[in-house]
């Protein structure tokens, strides 16, 4: 039954549905130390350069020991460790999820049709196994015989069991889930080690994580910046020697590390892993990071009407009195006629009578006889003890019933009925027979109810530049009416799977990226064609194979959240890159006067932060550079705050926050660190 409860507003931003886990730094640091192996670090050129710098500065500290030398070396190592820890923290979150999943994989035996017992690891696609109540399904497959309730909580975290039956769109079962009742025969569809759960584990652990196109492009830009700054510092030494201000190698290494974009370089992979993780936390599994990025780029969203845009069923939205009846009379009759009607439509009539007309529910009407709906009469209603008969039903059937009793039909009935139909609603006629004869009382307007909050959501999407298309089996007129109400941009009415596929191809030909959800086998081609295809977990294996994401909650509305998570991922990358580069300005103002003010006293004018000594200035910049990584880890994991807005508004906000903020913050930070560092003997 759908009630007002179902119409609660949909959240407008991707809020984390689970309590935010505290960052576990302990295991992360252990992981960070393991990651010091340079062979792994080569993948992150920026961090690798810092690693090389750390090695060099350590050697220098050993050969020519000084407090300054050791402190620089130590903090450079910490910089590398912090960078590694950021990645380890992100990975650690996935590991917990993976461990839960691994438990689901514990099944060891399977029973073939003839009762023979085989190890689950020996199952091959095409083999059929029997699973009875209490047993764990040994592998992914389709139910080919029987029906059963299945506990899928091991995968979805949802404790309510789901029904799985042969044939149709609810036939897919996942290995590791438990049959609660009945007996089913499952035809295995996956090879051992390649089951859904196996893939999930690999995904959440980041084992199969490949760098996404955008991440690679950004890495190239960062590498090129790193090279520029290496050249800047390497060529600086001859210039310094010429100027009579030769620098120590330690100072030059410190300068390189401060200039290269270490902040974003250190956090880049953590951001990517965390993006996937945010999806996992919303029970969405992305088969590739590429799909997550594509989600941010989506131009067109294909949304199924039922369940996504509207509630599943039609609901009464108004009573229209005809033939001189009063509104209250109609409401009263409608309520009486629907008291015993357990269909969602019937329930909604009672709810409407109560909410709009203040009619309290009447639980039992002594002596009343309820007339149930039949396909023959196409009416339902009630015969009251006082002789009154109330009927509601399809216009044709009710009119025939009234006319059969020579009752009058008010002329406006036709207009009202047509009007409701034109608006995409369904008219139900309400009539009564009393001692005075039969008469039409009014018309009940049943309509698809758009979920609360959806209109705002779609308006938001439009501001983000995303076009929404509603997919429905309804006729064009009905579809347009609902679309207009929900604020949907376009409709695909009387849609067949072929129409969907054609629509996607048409959009893509215009350079647009398309996202859609689907669950049926006939959705598979469209899911495969779409740039982001989200398959419902309740759907068929074919649908899940075709899409590049699976929503374990089977909630089609989630598509919008997925788009937002994709955008958030890219914004986080861009913002932290901007921040990282903007930081360099302050570092120059700290380090350059420290290096050259002794040779050119005039350059001390650049020491705007009035740092206490050259050593303290350089060390403070290095310390700030390392600490800012740690400080930004939570932001990298959570993603920067995302509010749907137009591109210009978002750019303005993020530029101000991370660009201007990135310029200002290090001036303050380095100054504060300098106040502490200058207390160290040998530095001040």
């Amino acid at each position: 039954m759908t009630t007002a409860l179902d119409r609660r507003p949909v959240s407008t931003a991707p809020t984390d549905p689970r309590p935010r886990a505290a960052i576990e730094w302990g295991p992360a640091l252990a992981g960070a130390v393991r990651k010091l192996d340079p062979r792994g670090l080569v993948r992150q050129p920026v961090v690798f350069v810092v690693w090389v710098g750390s090695v060099f500065s350590t050697v220098l500290a050993l050969t020519d020991p000084s407090v300054f030398g050791w402190l620089i070396a130590g903090w450079l190592w910490l910089t590398v460790l912090f960078a590694n820890a950021a990645e380890a923290v992100a990975e650690g979150r996935g590991k917990a999820q993976a461990d839960t999943l691994r438990k689901a994989r514990q099944t060891t035996v399977a029973y073939l049709l003839d009762g023979t017992e085989v190890p689950a690891a020996d199952l091959r696609p095409g083999m059929r196994v029997v699973v009875v109540a209490g047993q764990v399904i040994p592998g992914d497959g389709d139910v080919v015989e029987g029906i059963a309730s299945v506990d899928e909580s091991a995968i979805t975290g949802e404790s309510a069991p789901v029904i799985r039956e042969s044939g149709g769109d609810r036939s897919a079962v996942t290995g590791g889930t438990t049959v609660l009742s009945d007996r089913i025969v499952v035809e295995i569809t996956s090879k051992p080690g390649e089951t859904f759960v196996d893939r999930m584990i690999a995904l959440v652990e980041g084992a199969s994580r490949q760098r996404t196109p955008n991440e690679i492009a950004l890495n190239i830009l960062l590498s090129s910046l790193t090279i520029v700054f290496l050249v800047v510092v390497i060529t600086l030494q001859p210039l310094a020697i010429y100027s009579g201000a030769e620098q120590s190698l330690t100072t030059l290494i410190a300068l390189v590390v401060c200039l290269i974009p270490t902040t974003i370089g250190a956090l880049l992979s953590a951001i990517g892993i965390a993006g996937m993780d945010r999806l996992v936390q919303r029970n969405v599994l992305a088969m590739s990071g590429r799909a997550v990025e594509a989600a941010g780029d989506v131009n067109t969203l294909l949304l199924d009407k039922t369940g996504t845009i509207t509630l599943g069923n039609r609901q009464a939205s108004e009573f229209v009195a005809v033939g001189g009846c009063s509104d209250d009379e109609v409401a009263d009759a409608a309520q009486l006629a629907s008291l015993a009607d357990e269909t969602p439509e019937g329930r909604s009539i009672v709810v409407l009578a109560k909410e709009r007309y203040g009619l309290r529910g009447r639980d039992d009407l002594p002596g009343a006889e309820f007339v149930p709906f039949t396909a023959q009469t196409r009416m339902s209603g009630v015969d009251l003890p006082d002789g009154r008969q109330l009927r509601k039903g399809a216009a044709g059937a009710v009119l025939a019933w009234v006319r059969a009793q020579d009752g009058p039909v008010p002329p406006e009935v036709g207009d009202v009925v047509d009007g409701i139909s034109a608006a995409g609603g369904t008219p139900l006629l309400l009539a009564s027979t009393t001692a005075d004869g039969a008469r039409v009382l009014g018309v009940i307007h049943l309509k698809d109810v758009v979920k609360a909050g959806m209109a705002e959501r779609f308006a938001e999407l439009r501001r983000m530049g995303i076009r929404t298309v509603m997919i429905t089996g309804d006729n064009e007129r009905t579809a347009r009416a609902i679309a207009a109400e929900a604020g949907i941009d376009d409709v695909l009415a009387e849609a067949t799977p072929e129409d969907k596929l054609a629509l996607i191809q048409r959009e893509q030909a215009g350079g647009r990226l398309v996202a859609m959800t689907g669950d049926g086998t006939n959705d598979a081609p469209a899911l495969a064609q779409a740039d982001v295809g989200v398959a419902m977990n309740t759907g068929t294996t074919a649908a899940k194979e075709a899409g590049n994401m699976v929503d374990l909650d089977s909630d089609p509305t989630k598509l919008i959240e997925i788009v937002e998570i994709g955008k958030q991922l890219l914004i986080t990358r861009g913002s932290l890159t901007t921040f990282s580069i903007a930081n360099d300005l302050a570092k120059y103002f700290a380090i350059l006067p420290a290096m050259f003010a002794s040779a050119f006293p005039g350059l001390d004018a650049l020491n705007v932060m009035r740092l206490s000594s050259p050593e303290s200035a350089i060390l403070s910049a290095v310390v700030f550079n390392a600490l800012i990584i740690v400080a930004l880890v939570p932001l990298a994991l959570r993603g920067v705050k995302y509010r749907p807005a137009s591109a210009s508004a978002m750019l303005r906000r993020n530029l101000l926050l991370y660009g201007v903020g990135g310029v200002v913050l290090p001036f303050v930070g380095i100054k504060l660190i300098d106040l502490l560092v200058s207390l160290i003997p040998g530095i001040a």
């Binding site: 196109p213 955008n214 492009a217 590498s223 520029v228 510092v233 310094a240 530049g465 005039g602 750019l651």
Partner: protein, 569 residues
Amino acid sequence: MSATAAGWLQVALLVIALVAVHKPLGDWMARVFTTDATPPLGQKWPFLPQGSRHWRVERLVYRAVGVDADAEQRWPVYLRSVLAFSLVSVLFLYLLQRVQQWLPLENDMAAVEPGSAWNTAISFVTNTNWQGYSGESTMGHLVQMAGLAVQNFVSAAVGIAVAIALVRGFARSGTDRLGNFWVDVTRAITRVLLPLATVAAVVLVLGGVVQNLSSGTDATTLAGATQFLPGGPVASQEAIKELGTNGGGFYNANSAHPFEGPSAWISLFQVFLLLVIPFSLPRTFGRMVGDRKQGYAIVGVMAGLAAASLALTSWAQARAGGAALQLAGAATEGQEVRFGGPLSALFGTATTLTSTGAVNSMHDSYTPTGGLLVMANMMLGEVAPGGVGSGLYGMLVLAVVAVFVAGLMVGRTPEYLGKKLGRREMTLASLYVLVTPVLVLTGTAVAVATDSGLGSLLNSGSHGLSEVLYAFTSASNNNGSAFAGLSANTPFYNTALGLSMAFGRFLPIVLVVALAGRLAAQGRAPVTAGTLPTHQPLFVGLLGAVVLVVVGLTYFPALALGPLAEALA
């Protein structure tokens, strides 16, 4: 009229002239590089033979070169054509200098010495026009006209062609064709540079710039001494020297020479000439990509940076310290004292912001801050507005970098003009940004670390460093102006600066043409409310900031030891 008021008037006149001309000129260039129209049957268009889209003279060129002017090229072929053409040009120019004594109009000049000839050949082919030699005592009239002046046209045309190829990359989609280099370069000369240069030369002659084939005359001065007055085809070369942002003067003193820059208004006219094409090309770009606002955004960034630079330079020159300078009203050493300080600052800013390098004052003698600024102008990568063609493509590549970072911040895979900026695009753009700083800094470091480099320094300390830094900045950015104070006509500098010029010109061209090819092959993503708008003031500001940040972060340390140390001393 005070010098300051005159300065304001000059700037105002210049801006009005540029605003007035950029529209027709930009539109005309867009037509030149897009038109495939042939005269309709029975109708006669000037120059165009029936049924052809090529002018008669152009068809002669195509026949002589042996190219099919109606076939378009893929990017590797386009690039190969650019490089092959430039290589042949270098060899030809080198040879011409080496054998000039046997050729007519040699003007009694001997063969140019090999190192200098090589350096000069590269210099003129790369549109740098760095001059390690003294023009009036080295080059005969034939080399000046058939060699240097021709390269003034051709190297500028190559720049335009490459810029147009990149613009086509943005404008086209789903094709592997970028146009035909030979057609682009020929049309740039016949339909843009030659007509403009002709008009400009006439104006210059009217303004008193000399134009003859005389080998010079001896004049008796008022004091009774004899002075040799070298003549030559100056006006014709002067026109394209400015128009093509070349900058190689006929005389050593360049536009400060009274025969090259006889009056204040001619000096101002020269500034107009060197700015007019670079400031009009964004209009061409906007036209060709079908959104004029995009062109205005680019020109907005260029103009904003140029205005800021001019204001700072003028201020730095006017507030020069020292009692003597303050008494004079401003720094006057090395300035074009005939026309006043402001025009020197205007000329100096314009010539370093474009890749011209012509001078009417000596940058070496600017105040340290002024010297810092003209150097920083070049370090911007010659994009505000930059050289003919090279300014536009340089700015577009920087726009690609800016869009990439900003695009991420709006939550989409970055796209510029509907083109997605992925791995390959960013590789090319990143390498482009890398080239010039590496050349400048490496060159300077090697020079100050070796005896052969240090030997040419006439000044020591910070000022000496500034001179070397200026030379490599000028060469790598294909500017060509010199800070002076550096004896650059040595084997070391001829070679090192020659290499800087060659790499500084052709490595970016390779990357730009490859980028153009990638972009043209892409489809076009539609513009939605979620697309980063690249025509709004916010983006203009952002792009300007990116240009400044990239330059600032790269050159800050070197500048700190050179002009900045000097300025803060």
